[in-house]
Amino acid sequence: MKTKVLQGSSAQAADADSAIRTVGLGKRYGDIEALADLHLDVPRRSVVGFLGPNGAGKTTAIKLLLGLVRPTAGSASVSGLDSVRDSLAIRARVGYLAQDPEFYPHLTARQTLQFTARFFYRGPGPALTARVDETLDLVGLGDRADRPVRGFSGGERQRLGIAQAQINHPDLLILDEPAAALDPGGRSDVLDIMSRLRTRTTVFYSTHILDDVQRVSDRVAILDRGRLVANAATADLLDGDARTYEITVRGDGVAAARALGTRTGVRDVVRADGDGATKLTVRVRDHGTADALLPTVLTGGDVVTAFGRRRSSLEDVFLALVEGDRR
């Protein structure tokens, strides 16, 4: 499989600044390679989206970080602690939301949070109660706090999952598909809380909802079939191809396309007709040629309504990396 790892400049975080660092991390289940040679750095105080299609190995990677499964290759550290040797210490500092969170069905939301909090704190009772109440309010479950979890909807369960993950105000929040079971309003709420929490914690979350990643993530790591295919700042990924430009002109744009196509340094021109306008996508060999694009079109008498370097959406990048490999 072709592997394209985009390494943004800010990815070269020193070990001390890494909330998560993996070196050649891998996991095999018999003949199945669930995760292979994962090299990942997650800087502190960042929000990192961990993307990949279903079965890409995201959940396996997360469970390896927490010590819930053992690696068959490489190593991982969280806040400088080894994921195998120091698993308990890691779990004391991390908040984790599983993909399909399961809780004791007979406990209420309040009892579930009290139970969770007691793994981290020994008291005093009033402070524990205050923390639980605060966390219930944080996720909007205050009015359902004393209902048994067995009657919760998927969205309520997810909110409780986020609450229990951050009851200890962790250094690092690891969320596995945190918004998957939520309606649009709930999803938006979750993204808001993730954005705000970045001031005090690192958020590492897996998802397959690309819009969410583009909205809140500082960085993006993309996994495909157990292998990392991209790891870069979101802005770098979306910066797109620096040698592709888009020019929108009124009319059919035939003359402009012809004029651009005859210029030295232009690789190709693609016309796309719109409603009374035409978008010309022009690939150039160098920046000097790019500088001459607009004058060339204007000299021909065309009216230009938009001009700029083509920006990628995360979906473009994702599809190019993940689907491109399959072609």
Partner: protein, 269 residues
């Protein structure tokens, strides 16, 4: 609506747990296990079952054998009570606890708990201690007290406290053995079938094959504990090797607990 907030200003400071070690989370997990016994219907259902079964049978025996001398009847019902206790409670333990570990693995709650700073040893030991307390109180202590009262009323004789307590202690050993066996099986298997099948089979093998098996097997299994408990309680003749099954059962209980801790420690979630 979810709103991100920091801890409110002026909130009481929370004290972190003292240290993270091999038994991290034990106290919290044990509290949860005990609450499942004492804050749900489980405790009174268990009390009801064992009082009806153990005390009911002994009352029936006392009322249907009025011609037997009181001291003979006293010995008979005491032995019956303790022997039945080992077998019936043994089966009850297996059936009640079969899902303690398997169920949590199936439901996903074990994975959730293990994502918190809780050790795997603590997870298993909390179940052992919690269920041991639950069964000792509801299936052994309560019926034993009621048995003493019923015997005192119906036969005007109370069993000798020391020997009877020693007999109850032997029953307790058997019950804890079956509990450790069930937890070990729960850690070893992923389904309830093998756990219940092997556990109940182990109890019933003692009932049906005790007299047919070679002595080396009989003395290293907990199958004689009911007879030993009865003999101790009524001051009857004891097998000269009676200590062997007591010691081997105690050692096996420790070994099975070790197996449960070891196997659960290797579990991947």
């Amino acid at each position: 609506m979810i709103a991100a907030t920091d801890a409110p200003p002026g909130a009481l400071p929370l004290l972190p747990v003292d240290r993270i070690g091999p038994l991290a989370g034990l106290r919290n997990l044990l509290r949860k296990e005990l609450s499942q016994w004492w804050q749900t219907r489980l405790w009174w259902i268990q009390v009801l079952i064992w009082v009806v079964l153990l005390n009911g049978v002994t009352i029936v025996v006392m009322l249907t054998e009025p011609t037997v001398a009181v001291d003979v009847l006293m010995r008979e019902v005491t032995s019956t009570f303790l022997q039945m206790g080992v077998t019936a409670i043994g089966i009850g333990v297996v059936l009640t606890v079969q899902g303690a570990i398997v169920g949590e693995k199936e439901l996903g709650t074990a994975a959730w708990v293990m994502s918190k700073p809780a050790s795997r040893s603590a997870f298993v030991l909390a179940k052992l201690i919690g269920h041991a307390v639950g069964f000792v109180v509801t299936a052994i202590a309560v019926p034993a007290v009621i048995f003493t009262v019923e015997v005192s009323i119906l036969l005007s004789h109370a069993p000798a406290v020391g020997p009877f307590a020693a007999g109850v202690g032997v029953v307790t050993l058997a019950v804890v053995f079956y509990l450790a066996l069930t937890l070990a099986l729960g850690a070893l298997f992923d389904g309830r079938g093998p756990v219940a099948g092997i556990g109940v089979g182990m109890v019933l093998a003692g009932v049906f094959f005790k007299g047919l098996s070679p002595p080396v097997i009989v003395y290293t299994m907990p199958w004689l504990l009911g007879d030993i408990a009865g003999a101790i309680a009524v001051g009857g003749p004891l097998d000269p090797n009676w200590l062997v099954p007591v010691v081997t059962t105690a050692l096996a209980t420790v070994a099975l607990t070790g197996v449960a801790v070891w196997r659960f420690g290797r579990e991947e979630f």
